[in-house]
């Protein structure tokens, strides 16, 4: 069965650079969620999209932005990167908003040096 795809899987950036993370949801899923997980921490919800519109917003810094495109894939854009942004970034998708099961992608490990 198709799963959530994230790219890249690993990314190394320097401070003040920008990064773009991509997420391709499971086919027919119209809702995408982004989470950030620091080392040894629980995942923190960043933002979600439903039918290409932002639906919920969590602890996403102003330096970050995201969008969902017409093919339902989503991109998380991160600017002015800081050392503290180093983390695993997970994307999850669900069949629709309100569908209770979220399926997680493999994650993108971002390292900021």
């Amino acid at each position: 069965a198709a799963g959530v795809i994230q790219s890249p899987r690993h990314l190394i950036k320097e401070k003040r650079e920008t990064a773009t993370l991509k997420c391709y949801p499971i086919p027919r899923h119209d809702t995408v969620y982004w989470y950030q997980q620091g080392p040894g921490q629980d995942p923190q919800f960043l933002i979600s999209f439903y039918e290409k519109m932002q639906s919920d917003k969590g602890s996403i810094p102003d330096r970050f932005s995201a969008q969902q495109f017409s093919d339902y894939h989503s991109e998380l854009n991160m600017s002015s990167l800081e050392l503290g942004d180093s983390a695993l970034y997970f994307c999850a998708s669900s069949l629709t908003r309100g569908s209770y099961e979220q399926y997680f992608g493999p994650g993108t490990r971002l390292t900021v040096t």
Binding site: P43, Y100, F104
Partner: protein, 111 residues
């Protein structure tokens, strides 16, 4: 504000033993999730508990939900080494579909 508390945060146990991980949450929610995470890996859905009294079992793991007590438990029976991982519980609100996570329980099972 919804808070989710897990305990213990760290658990080291011998193979063959039984143990329980607890997950308390602070406000009304009818949906509780248990996930497993291996180091550096993604989050694997174990159980979704949707109603008061729900009980689900998969292999040596059994999860239950008491919405009145705002408590879920994950019970491990006759633990084996392969169950070593970090286990997270998470809760969402009816009107807000973001998951709020517990801090995770790091489980180490020694042969």
């Amino acid at each position: 504000e919804l808070k989710v508390e897990q305990n213990p945060l760290f658990l080291s146990m011998q193979e063959g033993k039984n143990y329980t991980i607890y997950c308390n949450y602070s406000t009304t929610s009818d949906r509780l999730y248990w996930y497993r995470q291996d180091p550096g890996k993604s989050l694997e859905s174990l159980f979704v508990l949707l109603s008061n009294g729900a009980v689900k079992q998969e292999g040596r793991l059994m999860a239950s939900l008491d919405t009145k007590a705002r408590l879920s438990t994950l019970h491990i029976t006759a633990a084996v080494h392969d169950l070593s991982a970090t286990y997270f519980c998470a809760v969402d609100w009816d009107s807000n579909y973001q998951l709020i996570w517990g801090a995770g329980t790091k489980l180490i099972i020694k042969p």
